[in-house]
Symmetry: D4
Subunit: 252 residues, 8 copies
Amino acid sequence: MRPAELRALLGQVKAGRVAPAAAARRIGAAPVERLGFATIDHHRALRTGFPEVIFAQGKTAPQVVAIARRLFARHGLVLATRVDEAARAALAAAFPRAEVHERARCVVLRRRASRGAGRGRVLVVCAGTADLPVAEEAVVTARVMGSRVELLADVGVAGLHRLLAHRHRLRDARVLVVVAGLEGALPSVVGGLVDRPLIAVPTSVGYGAHFEGLAPLLAMLNSCAAGITVVNVDNGFGAGYAAHLVNARGRS
Amino acid sequence: MRPAELRALLGQVKAGRVAPAAAARRIGAAPVERLGFATIDHHRALRTGFPEVIFAQGKTAPQVVAIARRLFARHGLVLATRVDEAARAALAAAFPRAEVHERARCVVLRRRASRGAGRGRVLVVCAGTADLPVAEEAVVTARVMGSRVELLADVGVAGLHRLLAHRHRLRDARVLVVVAGLEGALPSVVGGLVDRPLIAVPTSVGYGAHFEGLAPLLAMLNSCAAGITVVNVDNGFGAGYAAHLVNARGRS
Amino acid sequence: MRPAELRALLGQVKAGRVAPAAAARRIGAAPVERLGFATIDHHRALRTGFPEVIFAQGKTAPQVVAIARRLFARHGLVLATRVDEAARAALAAAFPRAEVHERARCVVLRRRASRGAGRGRVLVVCAGTADLPVAEEAVVTARVMGSRVELLADVGVAGLHRLLAHRHRLRDARVLVVVAGLEGALPSVVGGLVDRPLIAVPTSVGYGAHFEGLAPLLAMLNSCAAGITVVNVDNGFGAGYAAHLVNARGRS
Amino acid sequence: MRPAELRALLGQVKAGRVAPAAAARRIGAAPVERLGFATIDHHRALRTGFPEVIFAQGKTAPQVVAIARRLFARHGLVLATRVDEAARAALAAAFPRAEVHERARCVVLRRRASRGAGRGRVLVVCAGTADLPVAEEAVVTARVMGSRVELLADVGVAGLHRLLAHRHRLRDARVLVVVAGLEGALPSVVGGLVDRPLIAVPTSVGYGAHFEGLAPLLAMLNSCAAGITVVNVDNGFGAGYAAHLVNARGRS
Amino acid sequence: MRPAELRALLGQVKAGRVAPAAAARRIGAAPVERLGFATIDHHRALRTGFPEVIFAQGKTAPQVVAIARRLFARHGLVLATRVDEAARAALAAAFPRAEVHERARCVVLRRRASRGAGRGRVLVVCAGTADLPVAEEAVVTARVMGSRVELLADVGVAGLHRLLAHRHRLRDARVLVVVAGLEGALPSVVGGLVDRPLIAVPTSVGYGAHFEGLAPLLAMLNSCAAGITVVNVDNGFGAGYAAHLVNARGRS
Amino acid sequence: MRPAELRALLGQVKAGRVAPAAAARRIGAAPVERLGFATIDHHRALRTGFPEVIFAQGKTAPQVVAIARRLFARHGLVLATRVDEAARAALAAAFPRAEVHERARCVVLRRRASRGAGRGRVLVVCAGTADLPVAEEAVVTARVMGSRVELLADVGVAGLHRLLAHRHRLRDARVLVVVAGLEGALPSVVGGLVDRPLIAVPTSVGYGAHFEGLAPLLAMLNSCAAGITVVNVDNGFGAGYAAHLVNARGRS
Amino acid sequence: MRPAELRALLGQVKAGRVAPAAAARRIGAAPVERLGFATIDHHRALRTGFPEVIFAQGKTAPQVVAIARRLFARHGLVLATRVDEAARAALAAAFPRAEVHERARCVVLRRRASRGAGRGRVLVVCAGTADLPVAEEAVVTARVMGSRVELLADVGVAGLHRLLAHRHRLRDARVLVVVAGLEGALPSVVGGLVDRPLIAVPTSVGYGAHFEGLAPLLAMLNSCAAGITVVNVDNGFGAGYAAHLVNARGRS
Amino acid sequence: MRPAELRALLGQVKAGRVAPAAAARRIGAAPVERLGFATIDHHRALRTGFPEVIFAQGKTAPQVVAIARRLFARHGLVLATRVDEAARAALAAAFPRAEVHERARCVVLRRRASRGAGRGRVLVVCAGTADLPVAEEAVVTARVMGSRVELLADVGVAGLHRLLAHRHRLRDARVLVVVAGLEGALPSVVGGLVDRPLIAVPTSVGYGAHFEGLAPLLAMLNSCAAGITVVNVDNGFGAGYAAHLVNARGRS
């Protein structure tokens, strides 16, 4: 309950239009919906600017569909991430107009197209072809939240000129998401070229002493370039979400 | 060399005002200064909006002072972090007007006060008293870069009301830096309350299975609240730097 | 052999009713039953208040059934955990009245319903839908031992009001089991709200730098809230067992 | 604010005795005290049954004394843990009647002796002489909270008879705290002998592949004895606190 | 080439019965057999008292059979460990009298039964039913090398009396192999009861913070009982082999 | 763009044969080809002496074929590593003359045989039969680049004479690649016998506390023999590539 | 209490010479001595063949002296390991005839020289000069227990001939202790040359990715040579103790 | 003993000029010198082209001096690395003409200057000022072995132009040593620019999730640039040694 609502409610208590007991209930209550296996937080859109996102990993297909139904009914906008094949099929069956992003393993449901919420642009940069699914999760996320997003693929540091050729695009973005597996050096190099916030995403692309993303994660956390922040391994969603927050708030 | 400069130079070559060999040298050359033990990157201010910052750890006091002299002469603005006691004393002796931040282990040299570069405000939130040095490194950094910064100390999750009492301040910030040791849960709780970018900083405050910051680092990387990005353990500097980039760019 | 029994036996030796050699055998002997691949500890019920529980992981279905038969014959009460599909089917076939808990992967065999052994109530709190199987293992375990148990699902810290709405239920419990994956922050928040013993259970729900439960495990071990103890990743059984011991002994 | 207080306040709003704005302030406010470097949570005693405990590691001696003064003034009862030598001296100087526990690195300040808050007894069992400081931290903590506590020292598993000789004392306790370094096997052995809650504390006593407590921590988390819960390495305080909660609540 | 052989050879050179060049070849040559993908070390039986053992993991079934053929032809005694199902079938087809140990994943080929090579007895002790495959690998190995071996199964530390009932058997063995998963406490307890060499084998039986055997491995390396040595996780073969060396040499 | 080319271009600008804008584009541009999911770096052959190698892991079969087509058209020489079965089949279908190395999981496409580029010889030494696929990846790589390569298989340190018999071949090589799993001791032993560069390759062959190659990786990094350098676990490609660079450059 | 004693006692109960209550006390009692901070296990000499050894790490000098006094009074033979300088001085002052081994950090107290308890010889082999303190701890331990021991120093694998020159001594030992830091390859090489039990001791000699002994520990656990068992990093004591058990029991 | 020597010796045996027993001794003997605490391997210079290097860590100053004396007497050339201050002083006292490299912690003793042994040049590249001590250890090592060496300092990836300005020097080297702490990205960037062997050296410069060099070590092992090999953290010696081997052998 936002402060203004609280003050209004207390005014009504004073005026006798709301009983103290009822007011106490409302102050204590929360706009949640219970499904037994899930407690949907409809209030989140007010608090954080976007409805609850469905993290589908570890949920059954029927659970995902049930949660999606409630969220869609209330908000007209649903993003589900890490949706496995069964749940993607179930959502596509339940929502014929669902946008299914196979490679990014995301599903988007929406009543109307997002309006552009930021004045700038989010640039997602990706070191290798195998990192694309993670990069695309970032793209889908930031777009569904309302940002304009561009993708620059396969510009790893072993071929610097591929990257340097795009120096202008790097510098024109409001915020960058840089996705890399293997040794995760790309954010350090890009970070030395720009004066914008840069969100680094390590991926699990690699083998051996890569430890499924640990190597680039550590590299990014220790980057010699200032201004870099990091999200979890393969967390394209988190990077896209944070990038949109940076971009969107440029307007206020 | 920025694109406009390159085009101008090539125009001069065509006009015969600059010899090709000289142009080739200038295109290839870089505005760096060599000290033997260090190669100062004066170009960085153009590229990233702020002069090179001195990461003093592992450098001797004379090295730190020598680098500071060159940077100050050229830019009139120097930030040195992780400055040990000997180097702090050496800098204070060499620059009588140096601002020495003991607890944050930072030293600032500047010709004139920073102008406010961002339209919003950076809020640094800190879980415990022992996390303060890291939080203050973030405060000093963002301030010297030009942001307005506030600090909210000792509001750990085990006493939620301490935090909830500040809900408005949390929501009014343009960007938050949340500093926590022990289990590192504070960013998740704060992240669920706001719709702003949140930069989480794990600290080495803890013992035993804390592994000198590993526990809160992993917690923050795995946060259930969206929009959180993370920097290295005890990296207040990096968080303050990134927060300023988010805040400052609100103007363009 | 409990002390009273030992004194009685020695009295009989003195009285000549039991030969020294026979007494020596009985003092040395243990009430175990050997199956070749297993040595069943029937004495455990005397010692620890509950018959040996079958940890079915790594045992073949016939082994599980064979052990269950002996335990059921002697005690009329069997709990088997981590029972895979094959062993669940085998137990269901061998014991038509077996209670099979699919999601919790537990099977319960009992002659009569457990009597309520504790005066208080165990409250199992669960951060996300994907944590439910572990939470239910805790519920089944504490119930079969005789406690009254309630379950509160999907109340993660990113939506604090979902949790705060249940503050009374949290405070009314005799002991709490708090189950969480991802960053494992929930026990810290709940622990700051109550003055009851709280048993934290990290789960393997997460990815990347989660390391299959390591992240929440470390978080819970380093919690800033006092009074929290921790069990192994995904160990709902252990948490339910310990919670019952806390609850049950309230009566004595 | 507890529920009854909230209802009373709202009744006063209705009756016009409290203005809505004032009520809103009180509902939002929290009984905390700010020291700049610390925000003392005086409310915690209401919420969790014991005043905030000072975790002195990482705090300067003056900070520790300042916090202690405020807590003592309000509650008449202060426990400070992990107090280094300087802070122990400072507290002893500031509070002539301070109880200083050198080996356990604890300081207790209290106006009057704790009353026995539990009906049972806490038994702290300790594997080796070098584990004593941790065990004593547990003893001091549970005692200052009001429990009766006994200590059983140096009964490691390599000399089982030392332990078995105390079987009765083990079984008579309401709750056990078992402290062990090296391989951490003691909780498993004790856990197989009793039907009480058992809190295991790994210590950093060891070398080489002990990894400063990791070895016994993992051992305790994987114990084959049911009913064991674990706290952080060397966390005698946490174990003593949790043990008191188990013991104390036996009365309600 | 053993010293006596070398001296004899040199004597023949002196006597002119062997040409220097031929002698140089023999001194340099080694009694190995090359299969392209493998270089069989037939000399090992002389050097270490037992023919090369086939570690079948990572080898194809035809490779295993080919190596077995050569070893059997030369030595009449072959032990293959970690033999997967395909290679077990291939060996059984190629050697109709092969002894296939399904659970231990071993295959033994021999022309005649081993003679008892040790004067003592190897006792293999096993903590839980799920540890049996590893224990049996130890049993098969020590037996095929010629030791008398007994197996004591499912005597974990949570039911001490199961173990103590066998105190005599423990003390009568010449050397013990103790196999345990979970927390790996059994070797410490057994080691405190006997004055014989004890070889501890951690197993991967466990889950969560067990890290597939790391927990008991660390426990065993840090055991408080002296005289314990450790082999790799699940390495029943290595333990059986070492136990036989201890036992067998008792005769010389 | 190599220096000579840059100077020539600038000369043309001066002579008015190339417009400044066009020159600026060429200086900034890079000889890359964009496929949407990949940006092929054709320039690499100039820079590093060999066309871009396809690291096929994480790429779909059609992606691998598409990239191979472009590389083959331009360079007439393609090496693809870590090619799974589907992509191997797709390449074989698309390029009937493809050389498919099943065990090494490599595919080579070339218009004409490589000419010998080095004056020396690369010797690949392999500890066990199960390490062969990694060793062969090194052999294929160094050969396709133009080196003469020999393979010495299954000469582990437990049978030293197998290795010592080849002392001459070890010493005659220009550079050695030594491949070993398990404890990874072979490079230390070989390194003590030769005065040539030695590249050590740990493999994932092992189990338990091997941690999929961590054990030999650490061993090789800590070798007591000087002159050893190390590549990632199972990285036969990297070792073969580096070995060729050492060997090939002997000519210049 | 050994079985024969128990039978005798029960006979006395039957005969009325011992009251049942007294017998119960004796059966339950253990021959331990309590010092408050320590519980000395005098019974251990009966059970395991050697009095309790003082592991002095983490004990104060007065504690070490007090324990030593009791053990010496009862057994006339004391071994203390990991004795720091203060405790070594205190023991030397308290026992003028103490044998102090500075480098091995051991102190031995004994009334009379140990008699040779084994028929064979223990050979301690050491890879480098820096490993000597650990090797000497093994030497002192096995000697004080009664074995004949020899030491072979600085024979690392990078100079194989240093080792091979001692092939006879290696083969003549009854049991070998092989001590190595860095990559820990020595046990694998020695293990391939002998048919005796080999106990490997990793040391913390190294740096960087050595992780204070982890590298050689993993190497030794994964050795390709059969018959090797391992003790904790720097645990010369444990290796010497186990080696004596192997050697000593050769007589029975 | 090299093959030619062996054949000559056997010829002498045949001719009766050497007795078989004496020949057997010489074949078995090794040119080592024993100091009790060390076994000097004088043969190494023959085998590996350079006398044994003294790794001084863990050795006492007198031990280091004693070993240096023997090596100097025989070879006239000694390199000691990781020499602490005490040992540096002792060497300087014992050898007045010793070359002491403070920052690199090396000492060199030689009768005459090294002759240039390679036809090419070794280029040591260093990312930051704090990495200089490691880089200089590489420089000293390669120089004392006879290579021409250049050092390029402080050219980290966050300021790419600093590096690109030296592209020619990078390409002109015969072999590169690239030293970097923090995220260790420099070798990947340099590796993409050159076609020479590149040896990467991670340093312990960093903090937090750097884990004392683990972060750059993993990054370098996972580099996307081919042809990179890696040495241990801070192992400048090893890199310089290997670089010389690559460079020196270019002549043969």
